[in-house]
């Protein structure tokens, strides 16, 4: 009894102790299983780390071996879509650089053409061309123009004279040229290059007063709830950030977008409010106004996208994700094919990336056949930034594009 009571009520000096119960056997099993697994994993990943290190070393070797020089890269990104990688141009459309009498005149002329662009007929190596080349003045800096001019003359001019151009020379050319606009075809070039063969005469350039007065009033003053276009899109329709550049877009494309805002197939709070007050004839007038504007690019690649990847998507596409090249439909260099495929070059990168997101997000569903929705879906966020940045780095649509499209419609009628 004494024992019992002692047991049920321990004395004050009692210290708790643990009875020996051993570690349960399953815990041992798990511990040993985990040890084996851990060792196996260490061994396994150790091997693959080795392998990937080796791969990476090999990859960087390949890159290091085949990294082309600056001129080749610039030519590929800016010139090759029209003049082709081999510089042979496109029959009936784009003059060749190889064998060209103009390139043979030297880097100074090439730089001038890069800075001013060409708008007028010309004859190169016995072939006639319409001649619409953009001005790279706003897209490339002095060093890049100099690099390209040197590259083109070194590669294709059959000349013993110096083919190198310095950025200082380009800078002084830029100052000299000012805002003289594009070359008036081969006729104006022949005035600078005495050795040029006969050039076609330059048709009289009709000096178009951009848009009618009503359209100009809307653009610059607005009316009631229709605030002026220029208040967001800029005085020259150059746009900014996520407000699109309108200058040079096909008129019919602009009209369709305005109608789509009204119908709700394209969503944007500001634009949906503005279009409430616009009549159909006013939309047409605004389209005509903006398509005639030729304005330097103010777009820059600001999204830190991978420009190389962007160039690949624009020029070749990525068929492994079902994305054809942008330029397959939007025309070489993204100058657009009216009216369903707007120009993309010199458009603002944040706007472009936002639109790609909008196709996926459902704020935009006004695309023909759902083409853009599907393509945007296939592009990762990085891809969208990459391609937007590349397109923003391109020169704006060449002068004369819209007027030529107009001439064609007149021919049709």
């Amino acid at each position: 009894m004494a024992r019992k009571s002692k047991h049920s009520r321990p004395d004050e000096a009692f210290e708790p102790y643990e009875e020996h119960a051993g570690v349960p056997m399953p815990v041992n099993w798990v511990a040993i299983a985990l040890t084996i697994w851990g060792t196996a994993m260490l061994y396994d990943t150790g091997e693959s780390v080795q392998e990937s290190l080796q791969d990476r070393a090999e990859d960087s070797d390949v890159v290091a071996q085949s990294v082309p020089d600056e001129g080749t890269l610039l030519f590929g990104a800016n010139c090759a879509t029209c003049h082709q990688p081999d510089g042979r141009g496109l029959r009936d459309a784009v003059p060749p650089l190889a064998g060209s009498e103009i390139v043979a005149a030297g880097p100074d002329i090439v730089s001038r053409i890069l800075l001013r662009g060409i708008d007028g007929p010309l004859t190169v190596v016995g072939q006639d061309f319409d001649g619409h080349m953009p001005s790279f003045d706003s897209a490339l800096n002095d060093a890049e123009i100099a690099e390209l001019a040197s590259y083109v003359t070194t590669r294709w001019a059959d000349t013993t004279e110096a083919t190198a151009q310095t950025s200082e020379e380009v800078a002084s050319l830029r100052a000299e040229i000012g805002d003289r606009g594009s070359f008036g075809g081969g006729a104006e070039l022949a005035m600078m290059i005495s050795s040029l063969p006969d050039q076609p005469p330059m048709p009289a350039r009709s000096h178009v007063q951009a848009g009618d007065q009503a359209a100009r009033d809307l653009v610059f003053a607005g009316r009631d709830q229709v605030w002026s276009c220029a208040s967001c899109h800029g005085d020259l329709g150059q746009g900014d950030e996520s407000t699109p550049r309108l200058a040079g877009l096909p008129g019919a494309y602009i009209v369709k977008q305005l109608q789509n805002f009204r119908e709700g197939t394209r969503e944007n709070e500001s634009m949906q409010l503005v279009v409430q007050g616009l009549s159909d004839p006013e939309m047409t007038a605004l389209g005509a106004y903006y398509t005639d504007l030729r304005v330097p690019s103010t777009a820059r690649p600001v999204l830190s996208g991978d420009l190389k990847r962007g160039e690949q998507l624009a020029l070749q596409g990525d068929w492994s994700i079902g994305v054809p090249a942008c330029f397959t439909c939007h025309g070489p260099s993204g100058f657009g094919v009216a009216p369903n495929f707007p120009g993309l070059s010199a458009q603002h990168a944040p706007y472009l990336a936002a639109q790609l997101a909008n196709w996926v997000g459902g704020q935009r569903h006004n695309d023909a056949l759902g083409l853009m929705a599907q393509i945007s879906e296939a592009l990762s966020t990085q891809d969208r930034r990459a391609v937007a940045d590349y397109l923003a780095s391109l020169p704006p649509v060449p002068a004369g594009g819209a007027s030529m499209a107009r001439m064609e419609t007149q021919d049709d009628q």
Binding site: W29, R88, D92, G131, T328, P332, G400
Partner: protein, 355 residues
């Protein structure tokens, strides 16, 4: 031990440990190994949920990567080697993608090879050249002889590129460098491909003729809804501001002639079903593909260069059957009379033909 509840458990006694510890160790090791074996088996048999073994998206990616690897993959353009062979490959690629410029003397329309052989001849089911290369030489009933790849490409120039309206009026002569360069490009693209094998993705695929046959009115509706946005209401494609075709013409003087494979409804239907609209392959039904193919091939185009007598004679010789509309009356006119050359082509054609 239970007889001595007062004392602390007597753990230290010899007999309790020596045998017991060894036995425990053996049991533990055995059990551990058994667990490892069970777990391995479970993972192998894929009865463990994926999230548990930390294999979510990675596994998915590799699974996605496995599927297309059934298809042959040609080397990438930046893997073209240096040296004389690599230069030939590059020239071949340039001819393939810019045919009117780089084989200018033999191209009589506004097309390039890569208009139908998409992605510069790399895309499966748009007659990829890596698949074609390994099937030649072969017998073709079209000309009833064994064809080398050069013979085959000469046929492309004759019909699809409409050489009759080109500056020379003829395809490149036998042994021309154009063939050498193009074949170098094809050969290089077929690097590591097995030979004399019909690789998956060869040709344009096949689309069986639907029970309802084909109908030009239905085809016109499909064309308007799905094709005209790019190829134009009039089928003449669309040009950029410099005049280059961004979208190729499907009929008329700047398109392929009546002898081309694409002028056959079954061939065009397969190409369309598997490739068009661009970026949306497979989106048309078989019926729509056949209807719209028939609609496209019901328009006039440059004449068949094989025609020496009447259209009817040429129809019997080369176009017999239900899969072409050549020689048949559509909208009140017999098809096959041919369009003349476009103004641009007429300007560069030889003044007298047949020399």
């Amino acid at each position: 031990m239970t007889n001595e509840p007062d004392d602390r458990p007597n753990v230290g006694t010899k007999d309790a440990t020596s045998g017991g510890l060894a036995r425990k160790a053996i049991f533990a090791a055995g059990g551990g190994l058994a667990l490892v074996a069970l777990a391995t088996a479970a993972v192998q048999l894929e009865i463990v949920p994926r999230w548990l073994i930390g294999a979510g998206s990675e596994i998915d990616e590799s699974a996605a990567a496995i599927e297309p690897s059934d298809l042959f993959t040609p080397p990438l353009p930046d893997m073209i080697p240096d040296g004389p062979f690599g230069e030939a490959v590059r020239r071949g690629e340039a001819i393939f993608t810019n045919t009117a410029t780089n084989a200018s003397d033999h191209v009589g329309n506004g097309l390039s090879c890569s208009n139908c052989h998409l992605d510069a001849g790399r895309h499966p089911k748009s007659a990829p050249m890596w698949a074609a290369w390994v099937t030649y030489p072969k017998y073709r009933s079209k000309n009833d002889q064994i064809n080398t790849m050069e013979d085959r490409v000469r046929g492309c120039f004759t019909y699809s590129m409409n050489a009759q309206y080109s500056p020379t009026g003829k395809p490149p002569p036998v042994g021309d460098d154009i063939y050498r360069d193009l074949q170098s490009y094809f050969f290089w693209m077929a690097t590591n491909a097995p030979t004399n094998v019909a690789l998956e993705g060869i040709g344009f695929g096949k689309v069986e003729k639907p029970e309802m046959g084909y109908d030009l009115a239905r085809g016109a509706d499909v064309y308007q809804a799905k094709c005209s946005v790019c190829h134009g209401d009039d089928g003449q494609g669309q040009r950029d501001l410099n005049g280059d075709y961004t979208f190729p013409p499907l009929w008329g003087s700047d398109s392929f002639n009546w002898g081309a494979g694409m002028g056959r409804i079954n061939t065009a239907a397969a190409f369309i079903k598997n490739n068009m609209p661009l970026s949306q392959p497979g989106s048309l039904t078989d019926q729509e593909a056949w209807d719209v193919a028939a609609f496209v091939d019901s328009h006039e185009r440059p004449k068949d260069p094989r025609q020496s007598g009447t259209i009817e004679e040429n129809r019997l010789a080369n176009h017999d059957g239900d899969e072409t509309l050549y020689g048949q009356v559509v909208n009140g006119a017999v098809l096959g009379q041919g369009t003349g050359p476009s103004a641009a082509r007429a300007a560069t054609m030889p003044k007298t033909q047949g020399n």
